[in-house]
Assembly symmetry: C2
Homo-oligomer: 389 residues x 2
């Protein structure tokens, strides 16, 4: 049914065989003791992966957008002021979601696609704004730009705002230290660096976020996203007690626990480093093939994906040629520059071999569209990164 | 990892091997042509399974509660009057959800757990109430009571209300003819008779429901549930065009398409009949073992589950004994009578052999708790139903 192409898009990604086996296991009851144990273990492992030992994890059936929706619906009250550090499509989306729940949203916008807002500008806005919440997209999947979460979170804490990090394209791939960096809530989706097929919204709320939730004066208007429903369920599973609100996605949670075990087995620091190395290799190959990237500088380029601009004379038809060579890449997503670039995801179980397969297919694709380049230049550049290590 | 127990609870159920294989398949891109084809086919098959040829299907990552939330968030505006035909816990839940979105909710309550409201009373309420929406839980999983959807929907249409059917514990098991019966919206979750592991909210909205949505004056306050986001996506998949709002749960949708294919291969009429037969067999066995049921009459008992009352001197410890004999059953759910009964789910791929295995384990469990009965009486009664056929 699935062809054998290598899936190198920024989510869903290639998943570990153990994870896929867990997906296909016969489903057990959501209150069976073996599943309760698995769910409880997964919740605690999320704390470890988010580096948030005092966090409250939430695992709910839904997409990453539900995770964003949950953050906004539970933390924001009508009239609250929210600052969105906006580096692309997912900043726009967070703004839209916050507004849906009555927030007055101000965007600290990147001056152009591929850039980040000046830290000084963000600081000035925080100074003047009296914001209740600040959101930061750690990696905007639409631009491949990584925000400086550590620096922004410190700024936010200084101005007493709740710091919310959209880690959909970062958690478990990009360095994120929720507790140490003062991030009040971080969220992600299963199909990215967490390494589980799509269908789970994952959040870890720190003590200040939970306190803000508990001291709300306005009711939460979104029923499904309301933590009042889910908090007792998460607590019950961790207490190894049967409970029910909505039927949890048993197979996905079993797969999540499997993947979190693999992630912690590798070790977070090793995993961050592997993502950095893979990213360097892909970016070196892209450069050697004469392509620039959407992020305006290497310092703000994500380690979980690469967003190369098409070279002169090459357009989106390149991706069909790459696909024919066995690798699936993604097109552009940012509306202003959609046709000018493409995206290579490299997260999760991605290996050096996957990188070389991808760069090789990219070279074949470039040859297919008649682009002139030194054959093997991309492969050599990528290989050098791996040989250095 | 999973023990070999037979899972006979009212969801999640036992799933077909083909469906589990689809769950465990390597994930492809949500915009890969083969996945687009699968998603499009699944959407169209949902119309067939709901018997709603003109319906608009929605397939979204979430639980059955999200499906209820979606129905309420998109169809109800603040101040609208809603009538909930309430036969258990899920009627209470629909009322709570409708109120969350500003509806004034009236409950037509079953006089006691296991009963249904009098049709004349519902009619009188419709007469007086000027309701915009009426919800009916086709099978309330908490009581095993089946409502007369056909009759209630006809009444609702006469009074020009939008008829919403919670079919979580019924669709693809219990007879439901959305279009012919005048049901404006029906919804379910994947893990029940649809036969797919939990994680999908499934809705089919008829033309009047879509018209009501399009002519809303108040905005939808729930971002994730908002059809404005999802309608273009469902339409794009059916048009075989790539699109993106939230990443769809690729493996679950592939499994959904597989299961819908199996359902349509069996044929809906044959499937309804098989569910009726399996239900008769379980209920005959339960009666032969001297147990009564929560539904106060056989005429209002669901075909997708059976809710036996514990006999005198037997309590919830029975279920642990049944589990030791190899079958997982579910405890009570309705708060008023929770400790007085248990639940046997029999939906989806359930076979006569599964029924006999279940009844046999139930007999062993009853022996284990010292209940006196004629050994084999349940098995004989169930077997007679299958031999008649």
């Amino acid at each position: 049914m699935k062809d054998r192409s290598l899936l190198m898009i920024p989510g869903p990604i290639e998943f570990a065989p153990e994870v896929l086996r867990a997906m296909g296991m016969a489903t057990t009851s959501h209150v069976a003791p073996n599943f309760i144990e698995v769910f409880a273990t997964a919740l605690d492992r999320l704390r470890e992966v988010f580096l948030a030992p005092n966090g409250q994890p939430f695992v709910v059936a839904g997409s990453g957008t539900l995770a964003m929706d949950m953050a906004a619906a539970n933390l924001v009250e009508p009239g609250d002021k929210a600052l969105v550090v906006n580096t692309g499509v997912f900043g726009d989306r967070f703004g839209e979601i916050l507004e849906r729940y009555g927030a007055q949203v101000t965007h600290a916008r990147a001056p152009r696609p591929g850039s980040v807002p000046e830290p000084g500008d963000v600081e000035a806005m925080l100074e003047d704004g009296h914001f209740r919440v600040m959101t930061v997209t750690q990696v905007d999947t639409s631009t491949g730009v990584a925000a400086d979460v550590k620096g922004l979170a410190a700024m936010g804490r200084e101005h007493d705002v709740l710091v919310v990090v959209d880690g959909v394209c970062s958690v478990a791939g990009e360095e994120l230290r929720q507790d140490a960096w003062g991030v009040d809530l971080a969220l992600t989706a299963s199909q990215k660096a967490i390494g589980v097929p799509p269908g789970l919204a994952l959040l870890v709320a720190g003590p200040r976020a939970m306190e803000a939730f508990h001291s709300r004066s306005a009711p939460v208007v979104n029923y499904y996203a309301d933590w009042s429903q889910w908090l007792p369920i998460m607590e019950a599973y961790e207490a190894r007690e049967p409970s029910y609100f909505g039927t949890p996605p048993v197979n996905l949670i079993w797969a999540l626990n499997t993947s979190l075990g693999l992630i912690l087995g590798e070790g977070l620091e090793a995993r961050f480093e592997r993502h950095r190395q893979v990213s360097r290799a892909v970016k070196a190959a892209v450069a050697a093939l004469g392509m620039t990237q959407v992020p305006v500088s290497g310092k703000i380029a994500a380690n979980t994906l690469t967003a190369p601009r098409f070279p002169d004379g090459v357009d989106g038809s390149l991706l069909a040629h790459v696909k024919r060579a066995g690798v699936i890449l993604a097109g552009g997503l940012h509306p202003e520059i959609k046709a000018e670039y493409f995206r290579i995801g490299h997260m999760g179980v991605v290996s050096g071999a996957d990188v070389l397969a991808t760069v090789g297919a990219l070279e074949q694709g470039l040859a297919g569209v008649g682009y002139e380049f030194q054959p093997g230049a991309g492969l050599t550049a990528a290989q050098e990164v791996f040989c250095e290590a």
